[in-house]
């Protein structure tokens, strides 16, 4: 199918993006004041010890050379060694990948599970009491910082009601699922606030669309019109909005991972930033970038599948 032709060449567009990201991260991270060697050594830092550490991680080379090394490593499928953990960055990242992926996808699912009914209620009662109620709920979700909301959810559902684990990730599949409920809900609540607004607007537009009118004119009941003609069409822009914001969403997991002690990439990243573990920051940033591009790529495939008019 030639509509899916972009699947073949789109991955090529990833290259300039990754290249750009690698340069920006590289320059940015290294311009942050703070010396990883000093951080590592703490009070015991002596000039000799500092020098040894810097030598060990190649921090003494000029920046451009460090970058070239980085690129060279990248071509060999390596990302260097973590200064803090002293192990290979790629291995470090892969250990942390799963929780974050589960968290992001779980959040998206929960967010959709919240958004679709809420937006439906709001759109079908436009201007009415329920519409306002949905607005209150969704802006409430938007206005509450994740670190605060997360703790509230823990106090209510874990400590008082003992329904969910307080934090952590778990070992078995079921355990993981169970652990992920609250973190996903935390992210989903603020995410769904944005999505609900978008979906409500699309729904309103689609409900008044000519196609919906025509469907009503054929005598289809409102429910059928809604389910078959309004909702599917409205979801497309909302899903695209979601895809565009995926980078933001992934970044948002950092806070939630801290609150819920989820051993994911967010925590790895934040600790790496704070300890100036350059290679890890670099690696995670690259991976976030790849993820973000991939998700948008998936969204494109989805859009093309859902909306036959779209050609990419």
């Amino acid at each position: 199918m030639h509509r899916y032709r972009f699947v073949l060449y789109r991955p090529l567009q990833l290259l300039p993006v990754l290249f750009g990201i690698s340069i920006i991260t590289f320059v940015l991270v290294r311009s942050i004041p703070g010396d990883p060697a000093r951080i590592l050594l703490g009070t015991r830092a002596t000039p000799a010890a500092l020098e040894r550490i810097r030598e060990q991680f190649g921090l003494n080379d000029p920046l451009w050379m460090q970058y070239l090394y980085f690129l060279k490593n990248l071509f060999n499928g390596e990302m260097g060694r973590s200064i803090l953990y002293k192990v290979d960055v790629i291995g470090l990242i892969f250990e942390r990948l799963e929780p974050t992926i589960v968290l992001v996808f779980g959040s998206v699912l929960v967010a959709l599970a919240i958004t679709i009914p809420l937006a439906t209620i709001a759109a079908r009662n436009r201007g009415g009491f329920l519409d306002q109620a949905v607005r209150v709920i969704s802006t409430g979700g938007l206005g509450m910082p994740a670190f605060w909301l997360g703790i509230m959810l823990i106090i209510l559902f874990s400590v008082r009601l003992d329904l969910f684990p307080v934090s952590g990730y778990g070992q078995t599949f079921l355990e993981k699922l169970h652990h992920m409920v609250l973190p996903c809900v935390t992210i989903a609540l603020s995410l769904s606030a944005v999505l609900t607004r978008s979906l409500r607007a699309s729904l309103l537009a689609e409900m008044q669309s000519d196609a919906a009118m025509a469907a009503r004119a054929r005598g289809l009941p409102e429910n059928v019109v809604f389910r078959r003609h309004v909702l599917p069409n409205s979801l497309i822009p909302t899903l695209n909005l979601l895809a565009v914001n995926i980078g933001w969403l992934i970044s948002g997991t950092v806070v939630v991972e801290s609150v819920f002690a989820i051993p994911g990439m967010g925590q790895l990243l934040i600790r790496a930033i704070f300890t100036r573990d350059y290679m890890v920051v670099q690696g995670v940033a690259m991976l976030f970038a790849v993820a973000s591009v991939l998700v948008n790529f998936l969204a494109d495939i989805m859009t093309v599948t859902l909306d036959p008019r779209v050609k990419l």
Binding site: R44, A48, R52, R96, P117, P165, V166, A261, P263, T275
Partner: protein, 504 residues
């Protein structure tokens, strides 16, 4: 839509209920929540408490610090002899095995100590440069020769960095593998390490005191958020948590399910002063600042009354602590007078604060107000921890709060760092007194205990007089455990005696 949504919610809740019971941990495993995860298991490659506190139950050292944190007791070395001149230490090793079953030999000891002295991975080389030579007359004896006398040398051997590792293991596995999956001889061995999440330890049957160990295992779980960590203990999902914030102590104490442990520590919080930044080089100005600060208020507001006002750089209860050292009262008027005498007016100070450190930020806000009452303007500059460290080292600050915990029992380590004008410019204060530095050097090699004590008392007095920094408060280690956990104890040097801990 509505109905379906409710159904979904109901189903989720039901699933959750059935699951939550299956979560409970295995009986003999002690789960402890802490702020961060370990970074490595290579003893020489880290200087962080977060790593050390785990090492102490995984590795064994030649000489151990006892529960009170004031005396040394035999570890892997059953006994030791010190030569008359104080230069030769003969360590007699006990019969003990590594976790892989191989016996610990003198060769392993020499390998370990050589490694911390010479390896380019070692962060501790300087402390062990004093070791000139090591020999193994037999498998169970190590003779260590020092280049100079050193009173604190035995204490140095008790430092977790000097943990004994298996030479064969290290050479076969390589440093990287060993650092994730070490062969050690402590009470527990590393069963699994889920980086960023938890370190899973299991009882080491080869431990020479294996009978003493009651627990089947220990899990150190990283839970960065203070609230979450506390809620975990409260909800009974972990057995214990360390780093309890001051603000939570009272509330946790009221919980009948929990025991809050306030263990004496070697932690001292102090206010660094950059002597290089005039007029802070003037003793009177530093004294004025000391007068202007109401330490009791800091103790009350920041530590919720749990801490204690500090009067010496040597932590309370530590070796040679001088309890009668001078305490300058809170006296803003006196402070103003002193400033006037020193000819300083409109003093404006840059206060470097470690961002994200609750305690640090609170002290800053409090001190800012207190100093303003003495006519000193304080500008708070908040930067992230790593950058703060950089700026401290580079002297880009006027004042900043910092804390210290001892790694070793002997006061020499801290004294050297704080007064001995070591490489770190006296803990970044740039305090420069050649006489004091000489006293520090002398105290290090003085082998007579009472004389040594006198010297350290003198040092404490002098430091107070000169206001090298301002001692703020001492605070305990605050840990919390469930009622069913017994003998959950941390000594002033941070060692958890998990070999004695029982979980009922």
């Amino acid at each position: 839509m509505n109905r379906r949504f409710l159904k979904l919610a109901g189903a989720t809740a039901l699933a959750a209920l059935t699951l939550s019971t299956s979560i409970a941990e295995a009986a003999g495993i002690l789960t402890i929540g802490r702020r961060e995860d370990s970074s490595t298991f290579d003893p020489i490659a880290t200087a962080q408490n977060i790593d050390f506190w785990v090492f102490m139950n995984v590795y064994d050292v030649l000489v151990r610090v006892d529960k009170t944190g004031t005396k040394l007791e035999p570890g892997l070395a059953e006994s030791w002899d010190i030569s008359e001149d104080g230069l030769t230490y003969t360590m007699n090793l006990r019969d003990a095995n590594f976790s892989d079953g191989s016996p610990i030999t003198a060769e392993d000891v020499i390998y370990s100590l050589t490694r911390i002295r010479d390896s380019d991975r070692s962060l501790w080389s300087d402390s062990y440069k004093i070791i000139e030579n090591m020999e193994a007359p037999d498998d169970k004896t190590v003779v260590i020769t020092l280049s100079t006398q050193s009173a604190p040398f035995l204490s140095t051997l008790a430092m977790p960095g000097a943990s004994i590792i298996s030479k064969k293991g290290m050479e076969e596995m390589g440093a990287e593998d060993y650092a994730s999956n070490p062969i050690a001889s402590g009470a527990f061995t590393v069963k699994d390490w889920i980086r960023g999440d938890r370190v899973i330890l299991e009882k080491n049957p080869e431990f020479w005191q294996a009978d003493r160990v009651q627990l089947d295992g220990v899990e150190w779980i990283s839970i960065p958020d203070d609230n979450t960590r506390m809620l975990n203990v409260q909800a009974g999902q972990i057995d214990a948590a360390i780093f309890v914030p001051f603000s939570r102590v009272q509330q946790l104490q009221a919980d009948p399910e929990l025991t809050v442990h306030l263990e004496p520590s070697t932690r001292e919080d102090s206010l660094l002063i950059n002597h290089d930044h005039e007029p802070l080089g003037k003793k009177e100005v530093r004294q004025a600042i000391d007068f202007a600060i109401n330490k009791q208020e800091v103790v009350d507001a920041v530590t919720f009354g749990i801490g204690e006002v500090a009067n010496s750089y040597v932590p309370k209860g530590a070796l040679y602590y001088y309890a009668d050292n001078l305490r300058r009262p809170h006296d803003p008027e006196k402070a103003k007078e002193l400033l006037e005498e020193a000819g300083v007016s409109d003093l404006e100070l840059n206060y470097l604060v470690k961002a994200g450190d609750e305690v640090d930020e609170q002290i800053a806000v409090l001190l800012q107000r207190q100093l303003s009452e003495a006519g000193i303007t304080v500008n708070i500059e908040k930067v992230d921890a790593s950058q703060q460290w950089d700026m401290l080292v580079d002297g880009q600050y006027d004042i900043a709060a910092a804390y210290w915990t001892n790694d070793i029992l002997d006061p020499d380590q801290k004294t050297t760092f704080v007064l001995g004008n070591d490489a770190n410019m006296n803990y970044m204060t740039r305090y420069d007194s050649p006489e004091v530095a000489q006293m520090v050097a002398d105290a290090r090699v003085e082998m007579d205990d009472s004389k040594r004590e006198e010297m350290y008392v003198e040092l404490q007095k002098q430091a107070k007089e000169d206001v090298n920094w301002i001692d703020l408060y001492y605070s305990p280690y605050i840990n919390v455990s469930r009622k069913n956990v017994e003998n959950f104890y941390q000594n002033p040097l941070g060692r958890f005696f998990l070999e004695d801990t029982v979980k009922n």
